[in-house]
Symmetry: D2
Subunit: 333 residues, 4 copies
């Protein structure tokens, strides 16, 4: 029973159906009828006019946005555990042409206004030091915590005051919405977010993520950058169809709720062992090496996440027996 | 009836089946069982040990290879009509970090040893001028011509003599194999090709192309570059499965033969109007503006390809009525 | 007697004096009193408010400007013989982060509105093709011709119509002013030039060139890019002092007039052998191999500039005996 | 009396003489007789065959070296206070094409084997995390401490074991040699250093630094990168002549000794206030705001270096009255 990551889960049946239904000849690239519906579908979802691009990875979606927000000679503030820093092979440096990431501390991979302000204050305002251009946060975070609307609003206000653009890595934004009960709008553009990735692959999709732009004037540049980075697929309809299927009838939110619920089942089983509060679909547990081995012997797969710490990730299909068995095993530890 | 491009054609049913069959949880990225079979499958196909990576676009496959073959401060020789020059939004400059393309002339978008040699000879061997590092050709070419094995061998020998690496844009390599009857090996590594893209999307796939490396020592670097460029999808099994389906029982070659045959049907209908000999699946036809309009009025879609010139591209499913109708319409002109 | 290039000539005595006079402790980088006077001195010279930066090479001055004018995903139109294309080791690609140069033909390395317009018209307005962002010309050109004010104005108008920024490589702008009698203002900002390099090293300086910005809003970015490229010298006063010395009492123009006059002496000696009209300080002469050898045997140094063509460059100190001897030798051919 | 930085000090008279003596026409770029003597002069100095390039800034010298040692997709380990991280406007990211700096802690801006090893051990060996390619240290450090030969050897051994290249920022290597009494060879190539900058501008030069390559096979690439970055000056003889003058009769070492001695005079005056041991030519002193104001009122210029901390830098000409006056003022605090 695999709890490595939600990024390896199966594709939701409705997404598979949508892909099959898109299998007829149409205009190439993003000229097809499905791709042409994305702007509208996302504008409806967010309750404001946005531009929505498909992309095949969160790395691409995040870094195309960052390249539009940060010139090569400036920097992006982010948490030291942020995916763009830790797990994207230096992609921000590649896409931006050499911009720096300025790393912030903070519990649970959460950026605070205080940490960001301190980092900015340490930067001399001269040509010798790299000046910040953007702030990037991840919701839910890499530690499975969420930012609530008020926290996002405070970060957005800070960004505005410092003249920083505001980027959101939304690989698990669905889980954050499901967890907080806050609206997508309040968690994003109303808080001042300029651009974000919107994760679908971890949430029932096959290979379609989205890049959402809240400042339409950036869209043309991003379209060119997407092509230039080799991310303009010729049969884009198969990506757009996945996204539309997940947006329909709130499937994206149902899937996230299911994943979060499974995580809560695990959290409830071993509350005293949790490294972080479980607010989304990731569960970090303190175990001894022997306990980890025992769990593996019982057939559970998971990642070591540092000394004495393991990580379980639940996904849209983590329901029923597997989760119950793992919860029981955790309770027995 | 659309003859815009093979890159918009439907996905072959066997590929759709393979995608559906891959829809179970497996290891993320390229750790799944399908992706793990690619090296072996391609090594069997080419008759030598190769490394095969999936990628979602030909631009990515080509430019990841070029970045490994050409440092930022050198150049790549290619035809002035090459896709990497004309239609990839400057992607080679992005992936290589600023390398130049040195543009060669030549009939039918074909590079000749003479043109390449002349271009090299004009470059002074000093630090002021950009020194060439690689030669890139496309087979079949952007004008629908093919290089035969002997031509590739001559280009490869030239590259070796000039200490240039040799890259092949194989977006339509299947059509070239089908057309020439030469073996994949003779058209690639036996001729000295170091790395190539192998097109599947235009040939029945959905969104899986391949990058083939004939020098295994480059594979680790390319794996990192692929991740860094946002091209390491988390559910890679859905790409690998497409490729494996197309390789099985020679489906890739059957599809290319079907596309080529359809092109021949068109070519035969209007032999005196052909801009280039039809050797693969592209047909360039001389027409007046009135004739082009007339064809459109009859329901045929195609691109203008310069003054008085239009292009039809056939694909694996261009069979039966549509092609016959177009052939008849061309004959009537 | 060396006629290789004006870039190897001695430094003018007044420049040497100015350097010596600057040898006292002052603020580092460009905070010193000499550097602080550059904006004012250049604004006076051009008759409008400009920002003037020192740089140590024309390559740096040109490419810092181009990086500010052209994003990585767009292109710069220039002549195929332009120094930025031919003799800067791909520096524009490095500084811009991968922008392309689109190469234009034209007699005497001169860009015409027609050639530039044709090149633009060939570029499809879509994401697949690289869209132009800037036009770059060199005055005097690499063939020793000059653009007059009216020509610059026409090019500037074209640039404006096409929404292109306008860059001037002014490595020999002094020679162009001396030759045309047109004002610096008419040859630059009144014609719509946005940024330019202003050559001093070829004109009596030691290692100080200037980068002139006619759009002050670009100055901050360029200051950062200069530092980031390693071009912010810590004792900048020694560069600024050179420039101020050359600007004082019009020494820059006197030097250029001297160089141009020497070139005219040579041109007059062999009018029927000239490859190009001699309008500045470069003289291209048709000779046989035997004639070239004979000139070398007489002690004249020069570059071969293609088959049957040699180049002489005169400089501010090319006066008196050397030039007369060469003129006599050319007349004797 | 200015103690801001040694980078603003006057030029040594012998350097001025050498510049004046170089003022005759010679071959351009680095083809002149002075530049041609650099490899030999540095090889003699280091006691091994090296390649020596002039450059106009330490940023350029460091970053050209780093670009040759670290591909765009890997990282460089350095101290978090390193000049390449803190004060070069992100130049390493620009020159390498996006490589990362991995920041290490450590007293007095010194890198320890332990800190470097810990940082390496935290990096997973997969494509998701950026793998280190090089280690960079600064000697003397940004806090005015020095690495002795044994420390350099230990760092070099660590680098070798981890297959890292070893870069030395030698902006003040002269001060380190003067301070430690260790040989240049022991502090560099015998310890495994692959490439280094050698500072001259802070040590009596005008605008010539050197880049020393201990692996000759890298020299051609670096020569091209230097040109491409706009750092190949056309009258390079004026840079080479400065370096040769400073190497002659050990002037570089005499100058460093004078600067170090002046620093010792200051250190001795206020030993209990020193933030770091004074081992080179930088003196960091703890003062209250009122004390800092008092020093300024007495005519001393210096930088604030954090709360309650000020920095004095001495240089080759910091002798006599100024230093004595400052020492007395410090003693009086």
């Amino acid at each position: 029973m695999r709890f490595f990551s939600d990024n390896a889960a199966p594709v939701h049946p409705k997404v598979m159906e949508a892909i099959a239904a898109a299998n007829r000849l149409d205009t190439a690239y993003d000229g097809d009828e499905w791709s042409q519906r994305l702007d509208g579908a996302f504008s409806d979802l967010f309750g404001t006019e946005v531009r929505g691009f498909w992309a095949t990875t969160g790395t691409a979606a995040n870094c195309l946005a960052l390249a539009a927000l940060c010139p090569p000679y400036r920097s992006i503030l982010c948490h030291k555990d942020a995916h763009i820093e830790v797990d994207e092979a230096g992609a921000p440096g590649f896409f931006t042409g050499g911009a720096k990431l300025v790393l912030l501390g903070g519990e649970g991979a959460k950026v605070t206004v205080e940490a960001a302000a301190t980092a900015c204050d340490l930067i001399r305002k001269d040509v010798h030091q790299v000046q910040p251009a953007a702030l990037s946060v991840t919701n839910a975070t890499e530690s499975g915590l969420v930012y609530r609307a008020a926290e996002m609003a405070a970060l957005g206000q800070f960004a505005r005051e410092r003249r920083l653009d505001f980027h959101l890595d939304g690989a698990r934004i669905a889980n954050a919405v499901a967890s907080t009960g806050d609206s997508l709008a309040d968690l994003t553009w109303r808080a001042g977010v300029d651009a974000m990735s919107f994760g679908f692959v971890k949430n029932g999709g096959m290979n379609a993520e989205a890049l959402i732009i809240f400042r339409p004037e950036l869209a043309d540049e991003i379209a060119v950058r997407r092509k230039r980075a080799g991310h303009l697929l010729s049969k884009g309809r198969f990506l757009a169809a996945q996204i539309l299927a997940l947006l329909e009838d709130g499937l994206w939110l149902d899937n996230a709720r299911a994943a979060n619920a499974a995580a809560q089942t695990l959290a409830t089983a071993a509350p005293q062992r949790l490294v972080h509060p479980v607010e989304a679909n990731e569960v970090f547990v303190r175990v001894s090496a022997a306990e980890a081995d025992s769990l593996r012997d019982q057939g559970f797969d998971f990642y070591e996440w540092g000394p004495g710490e393991i990580r379980f990730v639940t996904s849209w299909d983590s329901q029923g027996e597997g989760v119950e068995l793992l919860a029981a095993a955790l309770a027995r530890l």
